[in-house]
Structure formats: C-alpha cells, structure tokens
C-alpha cells in the first residue's frame, strides 16, 4: 500500500554518535528560512557575505539541472515564475485536492497518490525534495561557517502541523542527509530563545503572527520542565491579510475596481506592504498606486489591522479556555513572526494579556535561535541545567469505527510521547480480517477528519461476531510522529506499521475542523445517533439471519418464522431512512420478538452439548 511503509517499531532513527558535537537549529519557514548555531548557551544566526541571515525559501530549477536556492532564486521569480518555487511548506503533507489557491507554478498529481508534484524545467519535483534543497543550502552555510560537517539538527515545525506535515518535514531532512535530533514546535523554540531561568515558575504565551499563519501556545515552566499546556491558532491568518486589507483600502480610495491583472495585483500587494513597513515607525505613509496618490495615517491603518488582531485575540481566548486559565495567570508574552513588528499588534496583545510583550529578540530569528540552543543540548553537549521541553499533539488522533464515525483515542493537547490502546471486536461471524483507518481531527464524522492511513489486519481466527478482540495501540513519539500497532488478543497476531501519510486537508481545514467541531456538536450528535442506530439495526439483522439459517426451521413454527422475517424486512427498509428513532424502535421490536427464538436456541445448544457425555460425568 502506497500510504504505508512498514518497519520495526522504535528502530526508525539512525544511531547517534558520542563525542563533542556540532549541531544547528533550523527554522524552515514558508517565506524565509534560517540556520543558527549555539555554543555554551549563546546562539546566533548564520549570515552570508552580504550580511543576509534570512534565506528566502525559494528554489529555482533550470533546464540544465542547475538548482539555486535563496536570494538568487527569488530574483528569477520575475522572469521565470514557472520554475521558481516558493512557499513549498504549504504543500508539505498535503494532497493536490487541498491546493485550492493560485500558485505561480504548475502542480500535477502524484501517480502514487502522494503529495502534488511541482512541474519544473528539470522535471517533476516533490515538496519533500524541494524542501530538502532549502535544507541543504542552510546546512552548507553552517558547514562553511563552522568549518566542518554537522552532526545533527533541531528543525522547527508550526505547533499546528499534523502528523503528515511533520513526517514530510522529517523526510526532507533525511533526504538532505541531516540527522534530526528533534522536530520542535516553533513556539517552544521561541520560548527557549528567551533563555528562561530554570528556577523560575511561570506561565507564558507565545504569540506568533507570521506572513500567512497565526499560532498561539500557552506554556508552563516549572522545575526545569517547559510544558505546552494548549496550542491553537489560525492556519490562514497573517501579515498577508493585513496587506490585502490595506490593498482594498487603496482600491476604495483610488476608485479602482477589484478585478486586477496578476501583475497589478502583485504591484498592489507590494505597495501595501511598503506602507505597512513605513507605518511601523512613522505616523503616516504616502502611497502611490497607478494614477492615485494619497496618505494612510497610523490611525486609519490601526483600524484596518484591528480586524486581523481581533481574530488572533479570539484564538488566544480559546487557548486560555482549553487550559482552564485566565489572563491574570500569564506572566509574559513572547512575540514571534515578522507581523508582530506592527506597533498596533504589540499594543493590543499587551492590553489583552495585561502583561509586557517581549520583542527584544528579532521576531524573525527567535525560533532559529531557540532551536540552536536546544540542538546544542540534544547533541550531547551537556551543561547540567538543561530545560526539558514537552510538546503536545495539536489534533486528536483516532480511528474509524462502524458507520463512518471517528473514535478519538488520543485527544488534542495531550503531552507527547504518548501511547494509548483501544479494543475493537469483530462484527460478523467468521470475520478473518479487519481494516483500520487512522484519522486526525476534531469532528465526529470520518468524512470531516483527515485520513492518515489505512491498513489491514489479516489472519484473525474465525470466531462468532464479537469474540475476537483487536487491540489497537497508537504510539506518538516526541517528534509527534505516529506508529500504530494492532494485535488480536486471543492469539497475539500483531501487525505494526509506521504511518506515512501522503495526502490530506489544507491547513485552513485544520482550523476549520477545530472550530466546526464546536459549532456543529449538535448536528454531529444527531448524525452520530443515526449512524449508531443503523449499525445496531444491521447487526441485529445479520445475527438473526445467521441464526434463522442455522436452526430457524427446526425451532420455530411457520407463523413465528414469518413474524421474524417480516420484522427483519421492515427494519431493513427503515435502515436507509434518516429517522434514527424509527430505526431504533424497529430494531428494539425485532430484538424483543426474537427473544423466544433465542431462548429455544440456547436450550437446544445446551442439549446438544450434553448429548454424548456419559451421565456419571455430571453426578
């Protein structure tokens, strides 16, 4: 099966080495990436000769096979957009059906059903390969600066990244020949960068507003353990939205309609972005777009930005609620991401939490710096006062059960590593195989969650329905990667897989899945009741059918037999209706009607069991 790769549990990591290590921290971003290195608890980002530390996450593929990464690649964007690949992070761990927005380059489906492939002059490239190119560039920058090869890296991922996205990131690192010491949540890395004193006990908020995503995490530091208590955000909200709103404001002021050509739209976005940057320090910005010239004041700009900030504040309230905490309990707020340079953002966030916001470390570099500090420790360079970082899984993990329902096995915000087992029974007499469908999401219906993998457990010994018990064990490691094992308990038949999902929902769907699960709790419940009544009805019909076929004619008279088959037909007709109560009532009635038959079967089976034994055995 294309979705799965089977390996022995716990053996997927290469062995590590044991002498003094060179390790780096890598922030693999959507727009820009960075690499940083730490020594004796101090970290700095590595820059090129021109003093540029940010490496644009852009890769250019030329016809002759030459690959360029970073600033040079971005400069190709204008004249060779089709071969200049940007924002590849948004394709990681996603399926082609999730990409419902315009890209300046062409993507095509993967024949194996995995992530979409990017069509370039140098051939079709997977998002994992392209990310690996960026990682190689960062590593070579580090190696030339450090004068030797590196032993390992901590790579950061957004806290909301699901299993498929984390797996894709780790695969890219492996492809680039990097020994991954840990996939670390971006907010966790940012918190580490602020060099928290291990003797301190406090609760902090990490507020991360990037170009296209918003991420908020609530963390508690105690006894040298830094634990994520809750995480949330909006995977489709960021500085780009501010630019878009400023652009709309310009169009309104200039009296220009909203339908613009691609190049004009890009020009508008650039003008809007410039105005935003100007307003970071100045009280007003002069704007020229096409034939219009005007002034955007800080006050007007703040009004525009508030629409975006309001959404982030809402996500902050949600995270506080999830952790059952109030703003009074928050000691510090750490600001991450370029969009937190906007003064209005800092002002509103400080006001909401009633505590100072930390902006001392460059919000573009803070994640890489934290990752470098942790990489230095994880590589084995111990200083004796290491802080332990405990991450959580951002979305619930579960399994599909009968009737398209999602059974949650590990709820979101559970600290990792974690292992949970759940038991399932066979549904039909003589059933010898069971297929398992692993899901991630918050909704009750499978159709609304993200499919991670399917696999089949074969060779279950044939028994009556319900007699074979299958235990499914989910193991999530410290990187947030999952392994699923299934075992038939009476015989110990086991099947173990490392889940390698290759397609799924768009990032905005993750956010939608969480908010919807709440809004639609009621409709989910009704849908669930309906599905359950159908499953129940189906089971009664099948059990009765097999019993009637076995000894119905011997044990029942004509009218009794007919009454049961009538009841069965009536129920079968109702199953397809949407009336859960009617299905349930008919199923109950049929169950009731079959009690006499069940009683006679039991008597008859006891008689059969006793026949053939000698009387004295029972004396």
């Amino acid at each position: 099966m294309a979705l799965l790769s089977i390996s022995e549990p716990g053996k997927s990591k290469p062995p590590a080495h044991a002498v003094r290590k060179r390790a780096v921290g890598i922030d693999l971003g959507t727009t820009n990436s960075l690499v940083a290195v730490a020594n004796e608890g101090h970290a700095h980002t590595l820059c090129d000769h021109a003093g540029h530390c940010l490496v644009p996450s852009v890769v250019h593929f030329a016809k002759d096979g030459a690959v360029i990464v970073g600033d040079a690649a971005r400069n190709h964007g204008a004249n060779d957009a089709a071969n200049t690949i940007s924002s590849v992070k948004r394709l990681m761990g996603r399926g082609i059906e999730d990409i419902d927005y315009d890209l300046p380059y062409e993507i095509v489906p993967d024949p194996q059903g995995g992530m979409p492939l990017v069509r370039t002059a140098a051939g079709d490239k997977s998002p994992v390969e392209i990310s690996a190119q960026i990682l190689r560039e960062l590593v070579s920058r580090a190696e030339s600066e450090l004068g030797g090869s590196i032993d390992g890296a901590v790579i950061t991922v957004p806290a909301y990244f699901d299993e498929a996205q984390r797996q894709a990131t780790k695969d890219a690192a492996r492809l680039a020949g990097i020994n991954v010491l840990r996939l670390l949540g971006e907010p966790t890395a940012a918190a580490v960068a602020y060099g928290l004193d291990r003797k301190k006990e406090e609760t902090v908020i990490i507020y991360d507003l990037g170009g296209g995503t918003f991420d908020v995490s609530l963390m508690r530091l105690e006894q040298g353990v830094f634990k994520v208590l809750a995480t949330g955000g909006d995977a489709a909200l960021g500085g780009d939205d501010i630019d878009r709103l400023v652009g709309q404001w310009i169009l309104e002021q200039a009296g220009i309609g909203e339908s613009l050509s691609y190049s004009l739209r890009n020009a508008l976005a650039a003008v809007a972005r410039d105005a935003k940057h100007t307003l970071t320090a100045a009280g007003s910005a002069e704007i020229t777009f096409e034939h219009w010239t005007g002034t955007l004041t800080r006050r007007e700009f703040d009004g525009i930005v508030d629409a975006v900030i309001d959404k982030t504040i809402k996500a902050c309230r949600r995270v506080l609620r999830d952790a059952r905490m109030t703003v009074d309990e928050i000691a510090d707020v750490v600001m991450v991401g370029g969009s937190t340079r906007t003064p209005r953002v800092r002002e509103r966030v400080a006001e909401f939490f009633g505590s100072p916001v930390h902006t001392e470390i460059d919000p573009d570099k803070v994640v890489a710096i934290g990752a470098a500090l942790q990489a230095d420790v994880l590589a084995g360079n111990k200083y004796g006062d290491e802080i332990l970082l405990l991450d959580v899984i951002p979305l619930s993990l579960g399994i599909e059960t009968m009737g398209g329902l999602m059974e949650k096995i590990i709820p979101r915000n559970t600290t990792i590593p974690v292992a949970r087992a759940q038991q399932f029974t066979t549904y039909k007499d003589g059933q010898t195989a069971m297929s398992l469908h692993v899901m991630q999401g918050e909704r009750e219906l499978v159709a609304d969650c993200r499919s991670l993998a399917r696999f089949e457990l074969k060779g279950i010994p044939p028994m009556v329905a319900g007699a074979a018990v299958i235990e499914v064990m989910f193991q999530v490691d410290a990187d947030g990667l999952m392994e699923v094992q299934a075992k038939e308990l009476s015989t110990g038949i086991s099947s173990s897989v490392v889940i390698k999902p290759s397609y799924g929902l768009a990032e905005k769907d993750i956010e939608r899945m969480i908010t919807d699960s709440f809004a639609s709790a009621a409709s989910d419940k009704a849908a669930r009741a309906l599905q359950e009544s159908r499953v129940e009805a189906q089971r009664i019909i099948e059990a009765l059918e097999s019993a009637l076929a076995a000894d119905g004619r011997q044990l029942l008279d004509e009218s009794e037999y007919a009454a049961l088959t009538d009841g069965m037909e009536k129920l079968a007709r109702l199953i397809d209706s949407d009336d859960a109560d009617a299905i349930h009532a008919a199923a109950e009635a049929l169950n009731e009607a079959s009690l006499v038959f069940a009683g006679r079967r039991m008597d008859s089976q006891i008689k059969t069991a006793l026949t053939g034994h000698k009387i004295q055995e029972y004396d």
Binding site: P15, Q223, R317, L378, P417, D477, F518
Partner: protein, 163 residues
C-alpha cells in the same frame, strides 16, 4: 504516589516532572536503540499515569480496576429510575438554557451539577475506603453521567461566549 482517592496535586506535579526529566527521549538522543525505545515507552507510560491520576473520574476507574472491579460494566437498572429521570430533565434544561442564551441560568446549573458531582466524589471516596467496591462502582457510574453533563454545560457556555 500513595494508592488513595485523594491525590496531592503538588506532589503529583513534582513526581511527574522528576520522571519526565529522568526518562524523556531528549535525554537519550545519543544512546543506543534499545535505550531509546525504553525511554519512549517509559515516558508514554508516565504521561498516561499523570493523566489518569489528575482526572478524578479516571482515577476512580483505575482504583476500581485495582480491586478487580470492571467499572464500565453496568445496565440501566443499576442507576435507579430516579437518577436517570433527573439526568434526562437536566439535559432538557441545558438545551433550553442554550436556546434562551441564559448565561445566569447556565452558571446556576453548573454550580448545582458541580456540587452534586463533589458530593458523589466524596461518597465514592468514603465507600471505596470502606471496601464497599460494588457501591463505589455505582457512584462511579453516576459520576460518568455528571462529568459528561459538565462537559456539555461547558460546550453550551463556550458556544454562547463565542469561543
């Protein structure tokens, strides 16, 4: 940790952190495969134990399991008609409060169900302490209803507060 229903929250936190610090896979990045697998399994177990001990409901189920009592096995009659009837009324009341967007009513209901829950928790503790496990199990099964109801109250509240 002592095997009692009352758990010292500070001690639980402290023990949890000690065990995490000793066994987290981050402490074994340079160890061999078997040591790393052991670290993964140990910390998974520690995380699970922590979640179990922190939740009064899971703690109760675990204490019953330690006595060989299957806490999940029960039938309708086991609860008593009065209890089930009251649960039904409470759920209808909750639905009505949600529709009327009655925050004050919701707060009052939450307080009422919380105090009922606390009373049932105390009863469980006393019965369990006296070795009356079958009675304790009945309290546990009632607590399942009550905790679920509290979750539902929270969900309605969050909906009204637009979280």
């Amino acid at each position: 940790m002592p095997r009692t229903f009352q758990v010292d929250a500070a001690e639980l936190e402290s023990r949890y952190k000690q065990l995490q610090a000793a066994w987290h896979p981050d402490r074994f990045t340079v160890a061999d495969d078997s040591k790393r697998l052991q670290a993964l399994q140990k910390t998974s177990l520690v995380n699970d134990a922590y979640v179990t001990l922190k939740s009064p409901l899971k703690r109760a189920a675990h204490l019953l399991a330690l006595q060989g009592v299957d806490a999940e096995e029960h039938n309708q009659a086991h609860f008593g008609a009065d209890f089930l009837y009251r649960q039904m009324i409470l759920r209808e009341q909750l639905e009505a409060l949600g529709e009327q967007e009655d925050m004050a009513g919701l707060d009052a209901m939450k307080a009422e169900v919380s105090s009922e829950t606390n009373a049932a928790l105390e009863e469980f503790e006393a019965l369990y302490g006296q070795g009356q496990f079958s009675e304790a199990k009945q309290r546990y099964n009632r607590l399942q209803f009550l905790f679920k109801l509290l979750d539902e109250i929270d969900a309605v509240e969050e909906n009204l507060l637009d979280y």
